[in-house]
């Protein structure tokens, strides 16, 4: 039975060892992410243009490319302690099952009711909304993890919470809705008839199963047309990556404690919240020239923004009411085929990660769905944890890298992000078990049609 240097199966930091500050990787980037643009004028957005949509403090965090560290308020730390520090797990059992000399670690963010890392930013965003004296917040959710996380955070801070849930997820995950209701949130399948933009999208695409971009449009409209509400978002934005840096900071502190330095860092990538958070302190060292790491983003082949997208200014939402962001994108009209299970269904990618990828600081790869679920099941059967489909993209890549080590005999150290659990994804697992899951990948023609929705803006 493997057990290296007395490294336990699970490394838990103590509450005293928890990070007290978030790290802003933008401070160490030479090429800053391109600014958000006003969709009307095409000019960089100023704070006062953003505050009708977002909370004031969050706008400051969003626009600050230079401050390296932000203090985590005590009230947020307090709720972090209900589920953090999260464990860094040494995957002895997986290593043995694979027969690999690689050493595999994963940072497990699923031990909270939202089932994922999303709560890290939800708590921060709800806290600042409360501080500003708001009544409530609106948001969108895809797989439902973000919506659940926000419901929990709003319940803690006594805020109203209105969630627009991508229709296909709403139907495939009826129990997610009940979890959100348990925490007091209201949940609407998107597109809905409740908003102008929803009605417009339904008129144009009557059979649509929805998309994150469309749900975002509805949530933004709801926030800006109701007094005392603001919009909050669970991924893509700079502020979200800032809050999610707690994942990487904890992971690094735990590894440092045992003198372990990863060679490869792997994370799944949809909008980039988990990947950006996990890699941030490592990327900081890499940007400052203090260390080198191989960093790999893993995305679904059915929604391949890094690997097949364009690096361009695009709308963040289908309804085109949000600011424009420069990012790797498939076009705001892109909607993954209905076979696509789980999250990682956003058409774009965090501007920070897009810039870092563009500048060569990280790699990206895409994987097809049945390969992902095979890895998920293999992982579950040896490590016990039932992974979310999203997280399983990272598992797939980690297993593949570990198997390469088996061939070459290299004892590489692999760190990957296990963002959450799959308890609410059993519909997808069922399809996999019944052999009904397909590996559909968009054709070049489909992507070309989607790219045609890109605005013509130089950036």
């Amino acid at each position: 039975m493997k057990n290296d240097n007395n490294i336990p199966y699970k490394i838990y930091l103590s509450e005293d060892e928890m990070p007290r500050q978030w790290y802003n990787v933008r401070a160490d980037m030479k090429n800053k992410p391109a600014p958000l643009l006003n969709p009307g004028t095409g000019a960089p957005l100023k704070a006062e243009e953003l505050t009708p949509i977002f909370c004031e403090e969050l706008v400051k965090q969003e626009l600050d490319d230079n401050t390296a560290y932000f203090d985590i308020p005590e009230e947020i730390l307090r709720y972090y302690k209900t589920y953090r520090p999260s464990p860094l797990v040494r995957a002895y059992l997986l290593e043995e099952a694979l027969g690999t000399p690689a050493k595999i670690y994963y940072k497990f963010e699923g031990n909270n009711t939202s089932g994922s890392h999303k709560l890290n930013s939800a708590l921060a965003q709800a806290y600042y909304a409360k501080q500003q004296g708001l009544k409530g917040v609106t948001t969108e959710t895809g797989a439902g993890q973000w919506g659940t996380a926000l419901s929990m955070a709003c319940s803690f801070f006594g805020l109203d919470c209105k969630v627009y849930m991508v229709k296909v997820s709403y139907e495939q995950k009826p129990f997610r809705r009940e979890v959100m209701r348990t925490y007091g949130a209201s949940v609407t399948p998107s597109p809905s008839m409740e908003t102008e933009v929803g009605r417009r999208i339904l008129a144009e695409f009557p059979g649509t199963t929805g998309s994150l971009g469309c749900a975002i449009s509805e949530a933004v409209e709801a926030a800006t047309t109701h007094e005392g509400y603001r919009y909050v978002l669970g991924s893509v934005l700079n502020q979200v990556l800032l809050h999610q840096s707690v994942i990487g900071l904890e992971a690094k502190a735990a590894l440092d404690k045992y003198g372990v330095k990863p060679d490869i860092i792997i994370g799944c990538a949809g909008g980039g919240s988990n990947l950006g958070g996990l890699i941030s302190p490592f990327m900081g060292e890499k940007l400052r020239g203090e260390a080198d790491y191989r960093i790999i983003a893993v995305e679904p082949a059915s929604c391949p923004s890094f690997t097949r997208g364009k690096f361009a200014y695009d709308f963040c939402d289908t309804g085109k009411v949000c600011p424009l962001a420069k990012m790797y994108t498939l076009g705001s009209g892109f909607i993954p085929a209905p076979n696509h299970a789980g999250g990682l269904r956003y058409h774009g990618m965090s501007s920070i990660l897009s810039q870092l990828y563009h500048d060569g600081y990280m790699e990206a790869t895409s994987v097809v769905q049945t390969d992902v679920f095979e890895a998920a099941e293999q992982f579950a059967r040896v490590e016990g944890i039932l992974p979310a489909p999203e997280s399983s993209h990272a598992i797939r890549a980690a297993i593949d890298e570990a198997l390469k080590c088996k061939e070459t005999g290299e004892e590489k150290t692999i760190l990957f992000g296990l963002t959450g659990t799959g308890y609410f994804d059993m519909f997808a697992y069922e399809k996999f078990h019944n052999g009904e899951m397909s590996d559909y990948v968009p054709t070049d023609e489909e992507l070309a049609a989607s790219f045609a929705t890109l605005p013509n803006i130089e950036g």
Copy 2:
């Protein structure tokens, strides 16, 4: 913000501090639990009569009333480390929400894929089955936690796993089935046409939604009619309480570390696996006269074996193929009304706990369903964790005791067992949210009819 004596929100023991032995509370009982009887002869069962049903090592544990400690094999400890030590949580947030001077702690067993404490015994039972060279095991499951736990354990040790799932749970929890399939188990709704006893029960009660007692009969028949299989059970048995002692031993070690002594210990009670495990080391002290604790069993008013049952020899299963046990029981023909959600639906109660209750070492109380779900939701909204309906019985009682402290001003220390999460119970939560949940309690006439199924045996 409350934070006593630097006691963290979550107390995690290190892997080095994990218990290396299970504790057998029978060793300290003056009045031992009554022996199992042969249903044919009415004589106490010998080991050789049990080994066709159970694994040999487990039979030894079952029948040993005198050995106080059993070593936990290294292979079991290893898998314990994938989810243990489990956190002992100080419920600062709940205390604050209640405005109580009470100090509330809970031992949280839900951070594993089975969603409950059941894995503690599943790993042990699967290990001994593997050691004996068996092909596989059969079992029943109600709410599905035990079946999931056993599926995981069998997957770890490479055993075949056949689960008979109470039909009402099978229908209300389709996703549980997929979790079990993910770990490679086969799942059959019970009663089924696969077994003699299932066919007999279906013929007699065509519309039955099933019961644990009936699923047990089917699983036992399947084990004894297939070469290389044995039956395993997730509750009630002495061996299960032995394995579950790890909960109490860890909880006590964590409390001792901070010099905390509970005044009241609360656990939900169905067959007694969690309650028996949680209280064991505390009960040991009480039995030896070294300390005193108030110990409370909380059961559903819809299945009230302690509070309205008889202390008598009874069949452990509806099909009457199993040994007879002396216990608090509602009669083996008892089936909870269909309104009853979740587990805690067994007609009887662990012989160990029954004897302790009979001898005055613990109290019992029953609670109605909507009160339980109210407590569950209140707890979720402040502590974050979404509790299982079963666990929420203990939450209800803990909140009630804390509110009594608020009235009297007493600073009592309350420890309760939070056995698991409710992710697969959203159907029940939905009924609660929609006001469709009832508090049906069996009438005296219904219980009298059920008591009529008791065998006429002095014990």
